[in-house]
Symmetry: C2
Subunit: 172 residues, 2 copies
Protein backbone atom coordinates (compact mmCIF):
# COMPACT_ATOMS: atom_id res chain seq x y z
CA UNK A 1 0.00 0.00 0.00
CA UNK A 2 1.28 3.43 -0.86
CA UNK A 3 0.44 4.83 2.52
CA UNK A 4 2.69 2.40 4.35
CA UNK A 5 5.55 2.96 1.99
CA UNK A 6 5.23 6.69 2.29
CA UNK A 7 5.02 6.49 6.05
CA UNK A 8 8.37 4.80 6.13
CA UNK A 9 9.86 7.45 3.86
CA UNK A 10 8.38 10.23 5.90
CA UNK A 11 9.80 8.99 9.12
CA UNK A 12 13.50 8.94 8.39
CA UNK A 13 14.43 12.61 8.38
CA UNK A 14 17.71 13.81 6.94
CA UNK A 15 19.79 16.99 6.88
CA UNK A 16 17.96 20.27 6.30
CA UNK A 17 20.77 21.96 4.35
CA UNK A 18 19.79 24.47 1.75
CA UNK A 19 20.27 23.25 -1.78
CA UNK A 20 23.80 24.28 -2.69
CA UNK A 21 24.87 24.61 -6.30
CA UNK A 22 26.48 21.48 -7.55
CA UNK A 23 24.91 18.70 -5.53
CA UNK A 24 22.33 17.38 -7.98
CA UNK A 25 23.44 13.86 -6.99
CA UNK A 26 22.15 14.23 -3.41
CA UNK A 27 18.88 15.68 -4.68
CA UNK A 28 16.73 12.62 -3.94
CA UNK A 29 16.90 12.59 -0.15
CA UNK A 30 14.08 12.21 2.38
CA UNK A 31 12.07 15.37 2.79
CA UNK A 32 12.01 17.61 5.83
CA UNK A 33 8.94 17.03 7.95
CA UNK A 34 9.36 20.38 9.69
CA UNK A 35 6.62 21.25 12.19
CA UNK A 36 4.71 18.15 11.06
CA UNK A 37 6.90 16.04 13.35
CA UNK A 38 5.46 17.98 16.31
CA UNK A 39 1.82 17.85 15.18
CA UNK A 40 0.08 15.33 17.38
CA UNK A 41 -2.82 14.88 14.94
CA UNK A 42 -0.45 13.90 12.16
CA UNK A 43 1.27 11.11 14.10
CA UNK A 44 -2.09 10.09 15.51
CA UNK A 45 -3.47 9.55 12.03
CA UNK A 46 -0.41 7.71 10.73
CA UNK A 47 -0.30 5.49 13.81
CA UNK A 48 -4.01 4.73 13.54
CA UNK A 49 -3.62 3.59 9.93
CA UNK A 50 -0.72 1.32 10.87
CA UNK A 51 -2.61 -0.21 13.79
CA UNK A 52 -5.73 -0.86 11.69
CA UNK A 53 -3.62 -2.45 8.94
CA UNK A 54 -2.06 -4.77 11.48
CA UNK A 55 -5.45 -5.59 12.98
CA UNK A 56 -6.73 -6.64 9.55
CA UNK A 57 -3.66 -8.81 8.97
CA UNK A 58 -3.86 -10.51 12.36
CA UNK A 59 -7.56 -11.27 12.17
CA UNK A 60 -7.55 -11.94 8.43
CA UNK A 61 -8.50 -15.65 8.68
CA UNK A 62 -11.80 -14.54 10.23
CA UNK A 63 -12.44 -11.73 7.73
CA UNK A 64 -13.42 -9.15 10.33
CA UNK A 65 -12.81 -5.42 10.13
CA UNK A 66 -12.12 -3.43 13.30
CA UNK A 67 -15.66 -2.02 13.10
CA UNK A 68 -17.24 -5.48 12.74
CA UNK A 69 -15.15 -6.80 15.62
CA UNK A 70 -16.33 -3.93 17.82
CA UNK A 71 -19.96 -4.69 16.99
CA UNK A 72 -19.62 -8.39 17.90
CA UNK A 73 -17.81 -7.50 21.11
CA UNK A 74 -20.50 -5.04 22.10
CA UNK A 75 -23.32 -7.49 21.36
CA UNK A 76 -21.63 -10.09 23.53
CA UNK A 77 -21.27 -7.66 26.42
CA UNK A 78 -24.72 -6.10 26.08
CA UNK A 79 -27.45 -8.66 25.38
CA UNK A 80 -30.94 -7.35 24.75
CA UNK A 81 -29.96 -4.04 23.14
CA UNK A 82 -31.40 -2.69 19.91
CA UNK A 83 -29.73 -1.27 16.80
CA UNK A 84 -29.88 2.35 17.88
CA UNK A 85 -28.20 1.64 21.21
CA UNK A 86 -25.36 -0.39 19.71
CA UNK A 87 -24.80 2.02 16.82
CA UNK A 88 -24.79 5.12 19.07
CA UNK A 89 -22.30 3.57 21.46
CA UNK A 90 -19.88 2.89 18.62
CA UNK A 91 -20.37 6.26 16.94
CA UNK A 92 -22.04 4.67 13.93
CA UNK A 93 -25.03 6.47 12.41
CA UNK A 94 -28.20 4.38 12.36
CA UNK A 95 -28.63 4.49 8.57
CA UNK A 96 -25.06 3.25 8.09
CA UNK A 97 -25.50 0.53 10.68
CA UNK A 98 -28.17 -1.19 8.59
CA UNK A 99 -25.82 -2.49 5.89
CA UNK A 100 -23.22 -3.40 8.50
CA UNK A 101 -25.76 -5.59 10.24
CA UNK A 102 -26.94 -7.02 6.93
CA UNK A 103 -23.38 -8.19 6.26
CA UNK A 104 -22.94 -9.75 9.70
CA UNK A 105 -26.38 -11.35 9.62
CA UNK A 106 -25.83 -12.78 6.12
CA UNK A 107 -22.74 -14.53 7.51
CA UNK A 108 -24.83 -15.88 10.38
CA UNK A 109 -22.77 -14.06 13.00
CA UNK A 110 -25.70 -12.22 14.56
CA UNK A 111 -29.47 -11.91 14.19
CA UNK A 112 -32.19 -9.28 14.53
CA UNK A 113 -35.22 -10.17 16.66
CA UNK A 114 -38.40 -8.11 16.89
CA UNK A 115 -38.78 -6.88 20.43
CA UNK A 116 -42.01 -8.00 22.10
CA UNK A 117 -42.15 -4.88 24.27
CA UNK A 118 -41.62 -2.39 21.47
CA UNK A 119 -42.36 -3.87 18.09
CA UNK A 120 -40.45 -1.06 16.37
CA UNK A 121 -37.04 -2.15 17.63
CA UNK A 122 -34.78 -5.04 16.72
CA UNK A 123 -33.03 -6.76 19.60
CA UNK A 124 -29.58 -7.87 18.44
CA UNK A 125 -28.21 -11.26 19.40
CA UNK A 126 -24.99 -13.11 18.64
CA UNK A 127 -25.53 -16.49 17.01
CA UNK A 128 -23.69 -19.62 18.10
CA UNK A 129 -21.31 -19.08 15.19
CA UNK A 130 -20.97 -15.41 16.07
CA UNK A 131 -19.87 -16.27 19.58
CA UNK A 132 -17.37 -18.82 18.28
CA UNK A 133 -15.91 -16.37 15.76
CA UNK A 134 -15.68 -13.70 18.44
CA UNK A 135 -13.76 -16.05 20.75
CA UNK A 136 -11.29 -16.86 17.98
CA UNK A 137 -10.99 -13.18 17.04
CA UNK A 138 -10.25 -12.16 20.62
CA UNK A 139 -7.49 -14.78 20.78
CA UNK A 140 -5.92 -13.59 17.52
CA UNK A 141 -6.10 -9.95 18.61
CA UNK A 142 -4.52 -10.68 21.98
CA UNK A 143 -1.83 -13.12 20.82
CA UNK A 144 -0.82 -11.37 17.59
CA UNK A 145 -2.03 -7.79 17.40
CA UNK A 146 -1.85 -6.47 20.96
CA UNK A 147 1.18 -8.66 21.63
CA UNK A 148 3.09 -6.91 18.85
CA UNK A 149 2.17 -3.51 20.25
CA UNK A 150 3.28 -4.64 23.68
CA UNK A 151 6.59 -5.73 22.22
CA UNK A 152 7.13 -2.43 20.44
CA UNK A 153 6.18 -0.13 23.31
CA UNK A 154 6.66 -2.19 26.44
CA UNK A 155 3.75 -3.06 28.73
CA UNK A 156 3.91 0.07 30.90
CA UNK A 157 4.16 2.42 27.93
CA UNK A 158 1.28 0.62 26.24
CA UNK A 159 -0.93 1.24 29.27
CA UNK A 160 0.13 4.88 29.47
CA UNK A 161 -0.65 5.32 25.76
CA UNK A 162 -4.08 3.74 26.13
CA UNK A 163 -4.88 6.00 29.07
CA UNK A 164 -3.94 9.16 27.20
CA UNK A 165 -5.86 8.17 24.08
CA UNK A 166 -8.94 7.31 26.15
CA UNK A 167 -8.66 10.65 27.88
CA UNK A 168 -8.52 12.49 24.55
CA UNK A 169 -11.45 10.49 23.19
CA UNK A 170 -13.50 11.18 26.32
CA UNK A 171 -12.58 14.72 27.32
CA UNK A 172 -11.01 16.59 24.43
Amino acid sequence: MTVSKATTDAVKPSRPRDKEPGDEAVENAALQMGELAELLGYSLKRAQLKVFEDFLRCVEPLQLTPAQFSVLLLLDNNPGRNQTEIANTLGILRPNFVSMLDALESRDLCARMRSTNDRRSHILVLTEKGRAVLVRAKKLVASKHEARLNELLGPENRVALLEMLSKIAAEF
Copy 2:
Protein backbone atom coordinates in the same frame (compact mmCIF):
# COMPACT_ATOMS: atom_id res chain seq x y z
CA MET B 1 -22.25 15.19 15.06
CA THR B 2 -23.41 11.74 16.06
CA VAL B 3 -19.90 10.45 16.42
CA SER B 4 -19.02 12.97 19.08
CA LYS B 5 -22.22 12.40 20.98
CA ALA B 6 -21.75 8.66 20.85
CA THR B 7 -18.14 8.97 21.91
CA THR B 8 -19.25 10.68 25.07
CA ASP B 9 -21.81 7.97 25.77
CA ALA B 10 -19.31 5.23 25.08
CA VAL B 11 -16.80 6.59 27.48
CA LYS B 12 -18.76 6.65 30.72
CA PRO B 13 -18.98 3.00 31.66
CA SER B 14 -21.41 1.82 34.28
CA ARG B 15 -22.04 -1.32 36.32
CA PRO B 16 -21.83 -4.65 34.49
CA ARG B 17 -24.57 -6.33 36.54
CA ASP B 18 -26.67 -8.91 34.81
CA LYS B 19 -30.16 -7.77 34.10
CA GLU B 20 -32.13 -8.69 37.20
CA PRO B 21 -35.88 -9.16 37.05
CA GLY B 22 -37.69 -6.03 38.02
CA ASP B 23 -35.39 -3.20 37.05
CA GLU B 24 -36.93 -2.12 33.76
CA ALA B 25 -36.51 1.47 34.97
CA VAL B 26 -32.70 1.24 34.92
CA GLU B 27 -32.79 -0.33 31.46
CA ASN B 28 -31.45 2.70 29.59
CA ALA B 29 -27.96 2.87 31.06
CA ALA B 30 -24.63 3.26 29.29
CA LEU B 31 -23.49 0.09 27.58
CA GLN B 32 -20.58 -2.10 28.64
CA MET B 33 -17.53 -1.48 26.49
CA GLY B 34 -15.99 -4.79 27.57
CA GLU B 35 -12.67 -5.63 25.92
CA LEU B 36 -13.12 -2.59 23.69
CA ALA B 37 -11.77 -0.41 26.50
CA GLU B 38 -8.47 -2.30 26.24
CA LEU B 39 -8.24 -2.23 22.45
CA LEU B 40 -5.61 0.31 21.53
CA GLY B 41 -6.87 0.66 17.97
CA TYR B 42 -10.33 1.62 19.17
CA SER B 43 -9.15 4.48 21.40
CA LEU B 44 -6.66 5.48 18.74
CA LYS B 45 -9.45 5.92 16.21
CA ARG B 46 -11.78 7.78 18.57
CA ALA B 47 -8.95 10.07 19.71
CA GLN B 48 -7.92 10.77 16.13
CA LEU B 49 -11.45 11.84 15.20
CA LYS B 50 -11.61 14.17 18.20
CA VAL B 51 -8.23 15.73 17.42
CA PHE B 52 -9.10 16.29 13.76
CA GLU B 53 -12.44 17.86 14.73
CA ASP B 54 -10.64 20.26 17.02
CA PHE B 55 -8.05 21.06 14.37
CA LEU B 56 -10.81 22.01 11.93
CA ARG B 57 -12.49 24.23 14.56
CA CYS B 58 -9.26 25.98 15.51
CA VAL B 59 -8.13 26.70 11.97
CA GLU B 60 -11.65 27.29 10.64
CA PRO B 61 -11.13 31.00 9.78
CA LEU B 62 -8.49 29.86 7.26
CA GLN B 63 -10.56 27.00 5.83
CA LEU B 64 -7.75 24.45 5.91
CA THR B 65 -8.10 20.72 6.48
CA PRO B 66 -5.36 18.80 8.30
CA ALA B 67 -4.28 17.34 4.95
CA GLN B 68 -4.11 20.76 3.28
CA PHE B 69 -2.16 22.16 6.21
CA SER B 70 0.34 19.33 5.96
CA VAL B 71 0.85 20.02 2.26
CA LEU B 72 1.52 23.74 2.81
CA LEU B 73 3.91 22.93 5.65
CA LEU B 74 5.82 20.45 3.53
CA LEU B 75 6.08 22.84 0.59
CA ASP B 76 7.48 25.51 2.89
CA ASN B 77 10.09 23.14 4.27
CA ASN B 78 11.01 21.52 0.97
CA PRO B 79 11.32 24.01 -1.89
CA GLY B 80 11.99 22.65 -5.35
CA ARG B 81 10.17 19.32 -4.91
CA ASN B 82 7.66 17.88 -7.35
CA GLN B 83 4.17 16.44 -6.85
CA THR B 84 5.26 12.83 -6.53
CA GLU B 85 7.78 13.62 -3.80
CA ILE B 86 5.35 15.67 -1.72
CA ALA B 87 2.49 13.20 -2.17
CA ASN B 88 4.61 10.16 -1.29
CA THR B 89 5.95 11.80 1.84
CA LEU B 90 2.43 12.46 3.07
CA GLY B 91 1.06 9.05 2.10
CA ILE B 92 -1.18 10.57 -0.55
CA LEU B 93 -1.55 8.68 -3.84
CA ARG B 94 -0.48 10.72 -6.84
CA PRO B 95 -3.87 10.54 -8.59
CA ASN B 96 -5.60 11.83 -5.45
CA PHE B 97 -3.05 14.59 -5.01
CA VAL B 98 -4.08 16.22 -8.29
CA SER B 99 -7.44 17.52 -7.08
CA MET B 100 -5.94 18.52 -3.74
CA LEU B 101 -3.42 20.70 -5.54
CA ASP B 102 -6.13 22.03 -7.87
CA ALA B 103 -8.03 23.26 -4.80
CA LEU B 104 -4.98 24.89 -3.22
CA GLU B 105 -3.85 26.42 -6.49
CA SER B 106 -7.34 27.79 -7.27
CA ARG B 107 -7.16 29.61 -3.92
CA ASP B 108 -3.74 30.98 -4.91
CA LEU B 109 -2.00 29.24 -1.99
CA CYS B 110 0.51 27.39 -4.16
CA ALA B 111 1.51 27.01 -7.79
CA ARG B 112 2.82 24.34 -10.16
CA MET B 113 5.87 25.24 -12.26
CA ARG B 114 7.21 23.12 -15.11
CA SER B 115 10.69 21.97 -14.20
CA THR B 116 13.36 23.06 -16.68
CA ASN B 117 15.49 19.97 -16.01
CA ASP B 118 12.69 17.45 -16.44
CA ARG B 119 9.75 18.87 -18.32
CA ARG B 120 7.50 16.07 -17.06
CA SER B 121 7.50 17.22 -13.46
CA HIS B 122 5.84 20.10 -11.69
CA ILE B 123 7.90 21.91 -9.08
CA LEU B 124 5.58 23.05 -6.30
CA VAL B 125 5.95 26.49 -4.76
CA LEU B 126 4.07 28.37 -2.08
CA THR B 127 2.70 31.71 -3.23
CA GLU B 128 3.02 34.87 -1.19
CA LYS B 129 -0.54 34.33 0.01
CA GLY B 130 0.20 30.68 0.73
CA ARG B 131 3.10 31.65 2.97
CA ALA B 132 0.95 34.20 4.80
CA VAL B 133 -1.88 31.72 5.33
CA LEU B 134 0.58 29.12 6.56
CA VAL B 135 2.04 31.53 9.10
CA ARG B 136 -1.45 32.33 10.41
CA ALA B 137 -2.39 28.65 10.46
CA LYS B 138 0.72 27.70 12.42
CA LYS B 139 -0.14 30.37 14.99
CA LEU B 140 -3.74 29.13 15.35
CA VAL B 141 -2.61 25.53 15.64
CA ALA B 142 -0.03 26.34 18.28
CA SER B 143 -2.09 28.79 20.34
CA LYS B 144 -5.46 27.02 20.19
CA HIS B 145 -5.15 23.40 19.07
CA GLU B 146 -1.87 22.15 20.54
CA ALA B 147 -2.35 24.40 23.55
CA ARG B 148 -5.60 22.64 24.38
CA LEU B 149 -3.93 19.24 24.11
CA ASN B 150 -1.13 20.46 26.33
CA GLU B 151 -3.68 21.59 28.87
CA LEU B 152 -5.49 18.26 28.83
CA LEU B 153 -2.45 16.00 29.01
CA GLY B 154 0.26 18.12 30.53
CA PRO B 155 3.45 19.01 28.59
CA GLU B 156 5.46 15.94 29.57
CA ASN B 157 2.63 13.51 28.81
CA ARG B 158 2.05 15.23 25.48
CA VAL B 159 5.67 14.64 24.49
CA ALA B 160 5.53 11.02 25.64
CA LEU B 161 2.34 10.49 23.63
CA LEU B 162 3.88 12.02 20.51
CA GLU B 163 6.94 9.82 20.83
CA MET B 164 4.90 6.64 21.12
CA LEU B 165 2.66 7.54 18.21
CA SER B 166 5.67 8.40 16.04
CA LYS B 167 7.25 5.10 16.98
CA ILE B 168 4.12 3.20 15.98
CA ALA B 169 3.86 5.13 12.72
CA ALA B 170 7.50 4.46 11.93
CA GLU B 171 8.18 0.97 13.20
CA PHE B 172 4.94 -0.94 13.69
